[in-house]
Subunit: 341 residues, 2 copies
């Protein structure tokens, strides 16, 4: 479903009256009968039709600014996404306002309202791990501001989205581990309120099932903060107390995996000889640790660029009364196999 404005074509089709007559009636030209004029104005009002003169006036009120909300800018992945956003925006003469939600839904709501009040032309959003922003987003869209969600999305919310297939990426990574001979694979996942945590977990689980390895919930460790090395460290410690036969860890992020590295290093568990480790995101750190870490490459710069391209296109179409449909773009991921598996 697309975000549609009523156009003069809609009125013409419904009333079976020519576009020029409709235009004249709305502009108050005398050569349209009063009866026809009333009919046209009634439908125009009902369908909330705004003639192009109003659209043009809206155009002049454009701020040529887009707002971006991400959980944090101090983040290898998001900083590259932002790089893509700023470059694509600048190429189209848009400026970019950046806000950080810090994974707090309340702050995110405040920021969405702030951007609305600042009259940005459109919003790019990667939602926080807390849920329930759908209604807030609905409020933003009521005001006719296009919104594109990227990376961390709300599936049920109707707008354009640019994502990766987290489930497939996780599935591929775990299948790779299984084909390499690993059988007791633990998952260091995230809190299951965030869509990408859910999808990566589901990919892990499906890969086990499809390869006839029984899924064991005891091998799933939740990390309250996906990007906290210490969470990975503590869960590695916990896991080794509870299990003696783990042969691989599939982590939700490279930073969680780095935490695993740190604990294994401390107690002299060799990677990958004793236990293999697979990360997710391809942060710079994953390529410089010893042993170099196998991970999932996420197209970050491309994601920012694509989301911005779609948003600007929607802004332009909306301002010119051109209909458009929401897009869902799934960017491809790839496995980067290094020394840790």
């Amino acid at each position: 479903m697309g975000l549609k404005r009523t156009t003069i074509n809609d009125l013409a089709a419904k009333l079976k009256i020519s576009k020029s007559t409709i235009s004249k009636a709305i502009k108050g030209y005398p050569d349209v009968s009063e009866k026809t004029r009333k009919k046209i104005l009634k439908l125009a009002k009902k369908l909330n039709y705004k003639p192009n003169s109003i659209a043009s006036s809206l155009r002049t009120h454009q701020t040529k600014t887009i707002g971006v909300i991400v959980p944090s800018v101090v983040h290898d992945f998001f900083s590259k996404v932002i790089d893509g956003i700023i470059q694509e925006a600048e190429n189209n003469n848009y400026l970019v306002i950046i806000l950080q939600s810090g994974e707090q839904a309340d702050l995110e709501e405040k920021q969405l309202n702030l951007l609305k009040n600042k009259q940005v032309d459109g919003i790019l959003l990667s939602v926080s791990n807390e849920t329930g922003v759908k209604e807030r987003l609905n409020k933003v869209l009521e005001k006719g501001i296009p919104v594109v969600l990227f990376d961390k999305i709300i599936k049920s919310f109707d707008c354009s989205k640019v994502i990766i297939d987290d489930k497939k990426a996780a599935y591929d990574a775990v299948c790779y581990l299984i084909h390499k001979g690993y059988k007791r694979i633990a998952h260091f996942g995230g809190v299951l309120t965030a869509q990408n945590s859910i999808d990566r977990f589901l990919g892990y689980k499906q890969a086990l099932i499809d390869n006839n390895i029984p899924y064991n919930p005891d091998l799933v460790y939740v990390n309250p903060n996906n990007d906290d090395i210490n969470d990975g460290y503590l869960n590695a410690q916990k896991m080794l107390k509870e299990h003696t036969n783990i042969d691989a860890v599939f982590a939700i992020t490279d930073l969680i995996a780095i935490g695993v590295y740190k604990y294994f290093n401390k107690i002299n568990i060799k990677i990958p000889e004793d236990i293999a480790v697979f990360g997710f995101s391809n942060w710079l750190v994953s390529s410089v640790v010893t042993p170099k870490m196998s991970t999932v490459n996420q197209p970050s710069f491309e994601m920012g660029k694509k989301a911005t391209e779609i948003l600007i296109d929607e802004i332009k179409k909306m301002n010119n009364d051109i209909e458009f449909s929401f897009q869902k773009v799934v960017l491809p991921t790839s496995l980067i196999i290094r020394e840790s598996t």
Copy 2:
């Protein structure tokens, strides 16, 4: 020297007339003699005095937006600075527009003009490695927009600045190496057009001189791109072809040092047993490589916060006709000693 607006106090002092009389004269109240009024208006015009009513009208035109230009957002240091900027700005109800110069002075100039035209209330700038932006900055300041430079500054440009003492930080790091017994210390520096490259080089040189170690220009290797691991890698290769007795490398950034790690690792040179490595910036990577890297900690979040605090203060003072002086804040650095030295 401060950026000063003429205030009503200046007029009162120069004319030896009360402020209330001056105010009445300018507002056209009848109880001021024509002679006095003429005298007051003449000086007000000469000193370009703008009464508060104009200041208030300027205030209502504030965009409550500040512009930030950094070389790149995909950068551990700058992303933390931006975190500090966005948080401090938001606490003061300002929004932040971010642009990336990509170390290109031409693009930076275009962006400064863009921000001016967008009527941001102030600008935070960390200049590109290319020189010659002083005149461009002067143009921005002519328009009465406060500018605060941070980290990468132009020394000769008159505005508030938030920096670290790069020379002292480098001096401290190299003195530490010398006191640990290292004597043949190479410097992997940056292009000497950037002030922080110059200062880190000067700190290195001074530390040698002060410790009676002859300075040898052959031990200085220039990295065209400070943040390119490959530059460090190639220079490590070059250095070992040209010299056989180097016992330590002091690198301008952690990423250059990581490049050194990579080459040493490849040809089995042990860090620190064969050659020690000292980095600069305390990027996340420096704490997770093996061996963990000694480095200089730069206060990044604090730098962004402080620069924003000063900028917003200057914006407010300028809008309220309050005089202010430019500040130069030097934030303290510290050595983080780990396993690589």
